[in-house]
């Protein structure tokens, strides 16, 4: 594979939130986990641990928690007229109302109930040195790219662990120790066969708006 081919994998990826009910084969699950295992990690500590969840009841609980987390925030943002401003770019009033309802109801984050498999990505705070959150993010990215390279869709979901109270609930669902110094829950990754064709590519800022040369703010390439 050359550089352009790898870049093609990166640029064709998108977050998928609707999945076919078909299961993800064990071999593919193993490859996703293998990809995670090879992520960069500070001092090779490998603090990551993964919980593979296919049980429908557990996914329902996590889906409900995700819905609750997102919905509780967005309902109140709507009530203070902030969520409406966030989506005022949608011109069609009916469409905008539909999007807003989808957001504040929390349904936007409920989709893991339909994903055949989800991976909880957690970090052992007793093993990692100083880089646990960053190591976990690197592992997550590897998993996303591996899934995409195999034709699977995935979505990195933070909703159910965004607040500390919800993170504890999430840990309890999965039996993860809840002590101060035990485990960090990064989030989970929902994976399945894509059922949607989302508009792609999503708009991305041009490099000129994000790259500086030699010093902050210097946009001129020397």
């Amino acid at each position: 594979m050359n550089g352009q081919e790898f870049l093609d994998i990166l640029t064709s990826r998108k977050s998928i939130r609707r999945y076919k009910p078909d299961p993800v084969p064990d071999e593919m699950i193993d490859m996703i986990l293998e990809a995670a295992r090879w992520a960069p990690t500070g001092e090779n500590y490998q603090p990551w641990r993964f919980i593979v969840i296919r049980d429908q009841e557990t996914r329902n609980k996590i889906g409900d928690l995700s819905k609750q987390g997102s919905g509780s925030r967005m309902t109140s943002w709507y009530c203070l007229n902030e969520l409406q401003q966030r989506f005022e770019g949608i011109e069609d009033p009916e469409k905008r109302a539909g999007v807003l309802e989808f957001m504040y109801s929390g349904r936007v984050s409920e989709f893991c109930k339909q994903a055949p498999v989800i991976f909880a990505v957690i970090g052992d705070l007793q093993i990692g040195s100083v880089d646990v959150p960053y190591d976990l993010c690197a592992a997550m990215e590897n998993m996303i790219l591996q899934a995409h390279a195999m034709g699977l869709g995935s979505c990195w979901v933070y909703g159910p662990v965004a607040s500390t109270r919800d993170a504890i609930r999430f840990k309890k669902i999965l039996g993860i120790p809840t002590g101060f110094g035990d485990f960090k829950v990064l989030s989970y990754l929902a994976v399945g066969w894509p059922k949607e064709q989302r508009k792609h590519p999503r708009p991305k800022l041009p490099l000129e708006e994000m790259v500086y040369w030699e010093k902050f703010g210097n946009k001129e390439r020397p």
């Binding site: 409900d64 819905k67 609750q68 987390g69 919905g71 509780s72 925030r73 309902t75 109140s76 943002w77 709507y78 009530c79 203070l80 007229n81 902030e82 969520l83 401003q85 966030r86 309802e101 504040y104 109801s105 929390g106 959150p133 965004a162 607040s163 500390t164 109270r165 919800d166």
Partner: protein
């Protein structure tokens, strides 16, 4: 020694590093900051107003705040508190002066914690912390969800709110990028 000043300086430094690590997400992570104090007191009540009043009485008696006014609305989802003379006001002013929206309010956290502990609400969310330096007060808007079906129950919290105009001039959690663009 000014213990309040010392305490706020320490907290502000911790908030700085939290913000550097988590950016705006820090806002969602700090709901337990301050709750140990209120848990060590005997808060009583079987309704939201009773819990708020019980917490406020303790906080006033201990010198954490000088006054707390509150109102409920939004069919029971909204709790608004107006806090006067909070000992953490200096910390909030410092954070705000750095261009960061205040994101840790021990006062709100204490009240929400006791609503969870005593009334067993499904969930809650501290939606808005607005610091009014001129009047030495803070406005806090919180969402309370007694049952899961109240999530998604939307009303206009600001319809008859006397602070609406001032509040709309304050920063928003979710409009940061848009706010920046407007300034440019």
């Amino acid at each position: 020694m000014d213990k309040t000043k010392y305490c706020n300086e320490v907290l502000a430094r911790v908030e700085e590093l939290m913000y550097q690590e988590l950016s705006g997400m820090a806002y969602w992570k700090c709901e337990f900051v301050g709750v140990d104090f209120i848990r060590s007191h005997k808060i009583q009540g079987s309704t939201v107003p009773e819990i708020v009043e019980s917490c406020a009485a303790v906080m006033k008696a201990e010198g954490i705040v000088s006054d707390v006014a509150y109102k409920t609305g939004g069919d029971g989802v909204m709790l608004k508190m107006t806090v006067q003379g909070c000992m953490h006001h200096g910390k909030e002013a410092h954070v705000k002066a750095e261009g960061v929206r205040p994101y840790i309010c021990p006062i709100a956290n204490m009240v929400l914690d006791q609503i969870h502990e005593k009334l067993k609400y499904t969930t809650s969310y501290l939606t808005k912390i607005a610091i009014d330096e001129e009047r030495n007060r803070c406005l806090l808007y919180m969402a309370l969800y007694e049952t899961p079906d109240m999530i998604g129950h939307v009303t206009d919290w600001l319809k008859d709110d006397e602070d609406r105009k001032w509040l709309e001039s304050q920063g928003s959690q979710i409009l940061a990028a848009a706010d920046r663009k407007k300034k440019e």
